[in-house]
Every structure is written in C-alpha cells, then in structure tokens.
C-alpha cells in the first residue's frame, strides 16, 4: 500500500525531467499536448494567447492588491482616504478589457470558421457511440468494426481486481480495434449515438463533438504526423463512461491501403479523393 503511495512522490523530484522527456504523456503535464493536425497549432495558439493575457492581467492586478494589502494597513498608521469615485480610472478599466476582448474575438471567430469548414473531405467515417463502446464505419470502403476497452484494462479496472493498474500499458486508453486513418488526408467524421449522448475527443487531434442519438454531427481533421493518439468519451454516458477509450492510428497512405484490404474493405475506393459531401450522406 505505502509503496504504491510513494511512487508519485518520487515523481515529484523528477517533475522537470519528465516534462522534458515526453511532453505528450508525461506525468505532471501542465498544458495541452502538442497537436498533430492542420488546425491544432491554431487552436493551441489561441489557448496560449488567452492564457497569457489572463496571466498578465492577473499578475498586474494581484500585484496591485498585494501592494495595497501591504501598504494600506492600519498597523502602518495610514489614514484612510475618503474617495469613492474616479471617473478617469473607471473609464480606463472599462475600456481596456473591451479592447482586449475585441483583440481576442477576431482570431477566435476566424478559428470557428476554419474548424467548421468540413467541405470536400478525402474520406468519411461514421462514428457511433454506444453504452459503452464506439462503432466505426468507413463509408468510402466498407470497413466497419467496434472498438471496446482492451481486455487488460477492463480486467484491472474492476473493483478490487488486485492488479496494479500502473503495470498496464495505456491503462483505460487502449482498445481492441483502432481507428486507422491515412496521414495528410482530410478525414470527415459523422458522429451519432445509439442510446445516450456521448462525446468523441482525442486531445492531440484537437477535435471534440457530442454524439447525439437521432442526430448527426460533423467534424474533421487532417493529421500531419503518423502515430497513435489516444482519447476517450467526454460526455457522461452512464456506468461505463470512463471505460470507452478512443485510439486513432495515423499511418502512411500505403499502410492504410493495406489495412483496408486486411479488414475486408474495397481498396479501389481508398484513393477516391473526390467524394462529395452529398454522396456520403446518401450512403448513410
């Protein structure tokens, strides 16, 4: 018991080292992971920008408060002033926030437009949320499968399983069947659910949207790097909400073609780059 408790404390010592080694999956991670899509840098920059603005305002404001708490205390024999208005100050501290907000609003609005531009995708995957697994249907080539929590995690995750979950690689973030996509292709995801609302999120892909029963939501990404990226359901969906991970494997175009054939899909459709939005909706 105490051994288990001790481990993270040792990690405290190594915090900086860990951060330097693997920023994406390190313990003590402080900020969003670096993304791997064409839009991820834009979104992360917006996040950084608003964070920095807030931090600067906070530092200035809290410094003023700290100074006031130090300087204007009765024990220093100060005499209270009696002012209760200062129009100049009030105008200034109303106008400055307005200017900052306008400064932030413009790139944010532009960001929304970029994110919502799901037109002319290279391929479309229909993703369906179930209690508690994800279903994937590749509308262009007929591949379809379910992705469940991997068995190792599922077993260790039980109450009093007696298994140290720290020994399990990718605990709660591994599946039996990965969603495989080619790098550099615009992948459109049509999202729905079978029972209750779920939400599909892979932090490094920088997209998240709710999967709503009876409705179809749309989102897209174009991965710029190959690799395996992990996420999980982010809308409370019942008992198994914490146990429906998402694993996306971005591979080269050749590897993707091979994967499609291996999974009984139509390889000829893989290279089809001009599937119009209308035709794939009709395929639903």
């Amino acid at each position: 018991m105490f051994k288990g408790l001790w481990k993270p404390s040792c990690a405290t010592v190594a915090v900086l080292g860990l951060l330097a080694v693997n920023p994406a999956l390190a313990a003590w991670q402080l900020d969003m992971p670096v993304g791997v899509t064409t839009l991820s840098d834009m979104i992360r920059d917006l996040h950084r920008e608003i964070l920095i603005i807030c931090t600067i305002i906070a530092v200035v404001l809290f410094a003023v408060i700290a100074y006031a708490l130090f300087a204007f205390r009765k024990s220093r024999n100060v005499k209270a002033a009696t002012f209760s208005h200062n129009t100049t100050a009030e105008v200034i501290w109303t106008v400055i926030p307005i200017l900052i907000l306008i400064y932030m609003a413009v790139p944010s609005a532009r960001g929304i437009l970029e994110i919502e531009d799901a037109g002319s995708p290279d391929m479309t995957i229909k993703v369906t949320g179930y209690q508690w697994k994800w279903g994937y249907e590749y509308l262009d080539n007929g591949v379809s499968f379910f992705a469940n929590l991997d068995e190792l995690s599922a077993e260790a995750a039980r109450l009093d399983s007696g298994i140290d979950v720290r020994d399990i690689k990718h605990y709660l973030r591994d599946v039996d069947n990965r969603m495989v996509v080619p790098v550099g292709k615009k992948v459109r995801i049509l999202l729905t659910a079978n029972d209750v609302i779920h939400s599909w999120w892979v932090p490094q892909l920088y997209i998240k949207k709710d999967a709503i029963p009876g409705f179809i939501n749309e989102m897209w990404f174009t991965a710029t790097k190959t690799g395996v990226f992990r996420g999980q359901c982010t809308e409370l969906c019942g008992r198994g909400h914490g146990y429906m991970p998402i694993v996306v494997e971005v591979v080269s175009e050749e590897d993707y073609a091979a994967w499609v054939i291996e999974n009984g899909g139509e390889p000829s459709m893989v290279s089809t780059t001009e599937i119009s939005a209308d035709s794939s909706v009709a395929a639903l």
Binding site: G4, H47, I57, V78, A80, L159, G231
Partner: protein
C-alpha cells in the same frame, strides 16, 4: 440601545415561543434565517462527505472504493446538494437575517410564506437523498440531468423530479418575499440607490430566480412525461431533440450560476469597505454592473453546449455575449481593489475571506473567459479544466463569501464575538486546502482528463493525488468552522452593537444580538 427600538404598540413585546414549535411555526425572519443557515451547513457537510468519497476514489488510478455507478450517483448528488441545498439556502438565510435589518424593517413582508419556503426544503432533500437507497440507486446522470441518460434512472427518477419541483417552489416563494420586502418595507428616506449593495444584489438575484426556476420546473416536467407518459420532447426516435433539453436547462442554468454569485458580490461589497475603513468605490457602477451581469446571464446559456453541434452563427453569438460578461465582472473586481486602495485595513477573519474571494474568484473568472473562446473550448469542454473553473467560482467564490458573511455578522446574530485565532486558522487551512484541491485540476483538464470519470489513465495520477490531498485538508478544516460557531455561542465575549470599527449600515445601529423584531419603529435615513 434596546429602549431606542422599543415600540409603542399595545401588545407586549413577545419573544420567541419555546421548544420545537418555535422553529416549526416561526414566522420570524431571524429564526427562519437561522434555520436556513443551519440547514445549509448540514447540506454542505453531506455534499462535502460525498466529495471526499469522490476524491478518495480518485486518489489513485484503479478502482478502490466505489462502483462506477455509485460514483456517478455521488457526483450527481454532490452537485445537487451543494447547489440547491448548501449555497442557495445559505444566501436565502443571509437574506432573511439581513435584509430587514439593512433596510430598517421589522421583519420580512410575507412571514408565513417565509416559514413555508423553508420547511419545504428538509422534505425535498430528505426525499432526494432517500433515492440513494432505492432500486437502481439515486440519480446518476449528472446534476445537468441530460436526457436520454437521465431517463435511465431507476425508481429514483420521479422522486428526484418532485424534489426539484419542491426546491423550485421554495426558491420562488423565497424570492417573491425578498422582492416584496425590499420594494415595500424600506425605511423612509432609503431610496433604491441608498440601499446597501447586499440588498441590491439580492433584489436582482430574486428576479433571476423568479425568471428561471419555472423554466427548470418545465424542463424536468417534460423529462417526467418523456419517461412515463409517452411524450418525446427530448427523444430523437419520437421526433424530439435531446439538445432541446440542454437549451432549456442552461437557460435556467446560467442565470442559476449568477444566482449563486451575485449575493456573494453583495457580501464582499459590505465587508471590504468596513475593514478598509473607506466607502465602497463606485457604488453606482457596482449596481449597474450587477444588473448588467444579470441581463447578460440570459443570453449566454449555449456557451455550455459549444460541442453539441451548433450552427456557426450560434457559436459566434454565444462566444461574443459570453466575453461581454468579463467587462462588468472586471469592473467589480477593480472597484473592490480601489476600495482597498489607500484604505486603513485590518485583517479580521471576514476580511481575510473577502480578500481571498476577490483573488480566487478572479482566477475562476479568467478560466471562464478562456472557456468562452470557442476553438479552445472544444479542448476544455467537459474536462477537469471546467471542473476547476466552476469550483473556483463556487468554493473560494460563493462559499468563501458565505463564510465571510457568517464571521462578519455572527456577533450581530449571537451577540457574542467569535474567537479570532480559531477563525483565522479556519481561513488559512481553507485557503491552502482549496487551492491545493482545485488548482491542479486545471492541469488535469488541459492534459486531457474528462470530468465525471471514476478512474483514469496513469498520466493523470500525480495531480489527482495532489488534488485529493487538498480535498482532505479543505474538507476537514471545515470542522473548524463549526467549532468557531459553537465556541462563539457558548464562550464568546459580549459584542458591542457596532462590532466592527469601520462598519456602516442600519444593522449596526441595533444592539447585539439584534432584537426579535428588528426595527419596530422605522429609522430615519438622511
């Protein structure tokens, strides 16, 4: 002093009745205020105990203590108890105690309704908590009650809906009482713009309550008919829309979060001038800022739903409207700072809590502004970043203000001074605990940990452990709060009527403890 407020009516001054009936049948604003505050404290500890089980489970990865379904019941009940059972009743309790004393009235305008609006609550919450023992357990779909998930609730479902209806009725009656009292019972000469800020913020809060509680009632009634009477308001298969519920819920829910913070603004605006010995900076700006925030609260609801698939125009509108809220909120924070500026400050416990409120609430405000940025919100949404955000606004925000208010007015209520050393110990433990508890949750959210999960990937283990340690410190330091109050009542030194050197307002002209019928003769306001 007590002679000064004695009255010239024909019957004798009757004190409270004796025994249980005093509390059961009371129509006195102070007794009802006390009932509300004690009830709120009990709910705070009940909801807090649930939070401690949650944090104990999240102390380490892997499932150690509770089943995931029970975990979901805990998160749901924790939120319902804290929002409807702890924070809201605490502010109603403060309103009951303070409004008549602040506006120079003998009591609330509608005393029997006042009694009823309180006594509904214990029954409502007894019913809600009893659902934990029913077939299928308590509600486990989150306090936001999103369908279709919430429709999977077992036998608890109708009880939960009925409990919410009761809470709504209680709130509506309470807010009618507040509005009628403030608008009709002010002492001669107290014009609206001479009212203390706590009175102003409560007046606006009461209107918010009146506007949105019926909306919640409507939403949960539609849930009820969807589950039992074959309607499909929120079911896609029957032509309904689950997202419609979210719109209705958040049309209630967003004003609701301001219902929990506007009276807190009022409390802090009373306390800071007292201990800075300097008038509140920008009184009118504060009033207008409060009204502006209240108005904006009605047009920002869908910022809780950016990932639900809204049209671009909708996302833009709700992003811009949400960003606007930063302006009146910033004005308030700057005004509090300016009130302290060149003051003559001392730091008794109420002031410590009030200053902590200003700083920590501002941190919650900043993360709120970040959440308004839609592209980034896709990353933040439904993660621990959101959990950190709203807990910063609600715990070192609303809850700290309630504690500040308790320390500030406790001598007026009980006639006795609390122990300052104990109070300060409570403050510092809470202050440290709350930050260790909630600050790391920002990092967890940014790193990718969703909220409302009973177990998590190993990469989140470290900050979760820190957070749980903070929860332990914060949770158990609240026992100090109870200790201070009991110690004050039992062993406190007699308080003066002024209590605080810099305190201004009608309540401080009354003796401590305040007489049973606050102002029997209306005071003159110059």
């Amino acid at each position: 002093m007590s002679e000064a407020v004695s009255h010239d009516s024909h019957h004798d001054d009757h004190g409270p009745a004796k025994g249980l009936t005093r509390w059961l049948f009371t129509t006195n604003h102070k007794d009802i205020g006390t009932l509300y505050l004690i009830f709120s404290l009990i709910m705070f500890f009940t909801g807090g105990a649930m939070a401690l089980i949650i944090r104990a489970e999240l102390f380490q990865p892997g499932l150690q203590f509770v089943d995931p379904h029970f975990f979901n019941q805990l998160t749901t009940m924790h939120a319902l108890l804290m929002v409807f059972g702890a924070v809201m009743p605490a502010f109603v309790g403060l309103a009951n105690w303070l409004l008549p004393m602040m506006i120079g009235a003998p009591d609330m305008a509608l005393p029997r309704m006042n009694n009823w609006s309180f006594w509904i609550l214990p029954f409502a919450f007894a019913m809600l908590i009893s659902t934990l023992f029913m077939q299928g357990g308590g509600p486990a779909g989150g306090w936001t009650l999103y369908p279709p998930l919430v429709l999977q609730t077992g036998d608890a479902f109708p009880f939960m809906i009925f409990a919410i209806h009761l809470m709504g009725i209680s709130s509506i009656m309470g807010s009618i009482n507040v509005i009628v009292t403030i608008l009709n019972m002010r002492a001669p000469g107290m014009t609206l713009l001479k009212m203390p800020l706590f009175v102003w913020t409560w007046l606006i809060t009461a209107y918010l309550l009146l506007a949105v509680m019926p909306v919640l009632a409507g939403a949960v009634t539609m849930l009820l008919t969807d589950k039992y009477f074959g309607t499909s308001f929120f079911l896609g298969a029957g032509g309904g829309d689950p997202v419609l519920f979210q719109h209705i819920f958040w049309f209630f829910g967003h004003p609701e979060v301001y219902i929990m913070i506007l009276p807190a603004f009022g409390v802090v605006s009373q306390i800071i001038p007292t201990f800075a010995r300097k008038p509140l900076f920008g009184y009118e700006a504060m009033v207008y800022a409060t009204a502006t925030i209240a108005f904006l609260s009605f047009i920002v609801w869908a910022h809780h739903m950016f990932t639900s698939g809204m049209p671009i125009a909708g996302q833009m509108f709700f992003m811009f409207a949400t960003m606007l809220i930063a302006i009146p909120t910033a004005v308030k924070v700057f005004n509090w700072t300016a009130t302290m500026w060149r003051g003559e400050m001392t730091f008794e416990t109420p002031m410590l809590f009030a200053v902590a409120f200003v700083i920590l609430f501002t941190i919650g405000g900043f993360s709120g502004l970040m959440l308004a940025i839609v592209p980034a919100d896709y990353q933040y949404h439904d993660t621990y970043f959101v959990v950190a955000h709203f807990h910063y606004v609600l715990v070192p925000g609303a809850v700290f203000s309630i504690m500040a208010a308790t320390y500030y007015w406790l001598p007026k209520w009980t006639g006795k001074m609390y122990n300052e050393t104990l109070g300060k110990t409570h403050f510092w433990l809470s202050m440290i605990g709350v930050n260790v508890l909630f600050f790391p949750q920002h990092f967890l959210g940014l790193a990718g940990m969703p909220r409302r999960i009973p177990d998590y990937a190993i990469q989140f283990a470290d900050f979760n452990m820190v957070s749980s340690i903070g929860a332990l410190i914060f949770g158990f330091s609240q026992l100090f709060f109870v200790w201070v109050i009991i110690d004050c009542v039992r062993n406190g030194k007699q308080a003066t009527s002024q209590v605080w050197e810099g305190a201004e307002g009608l309540e401080w002209t009354l003796p401590s403890p305040a007489p049973y019928h606050s102002f029997e003769t209306a005071p003159e306001i110059k």
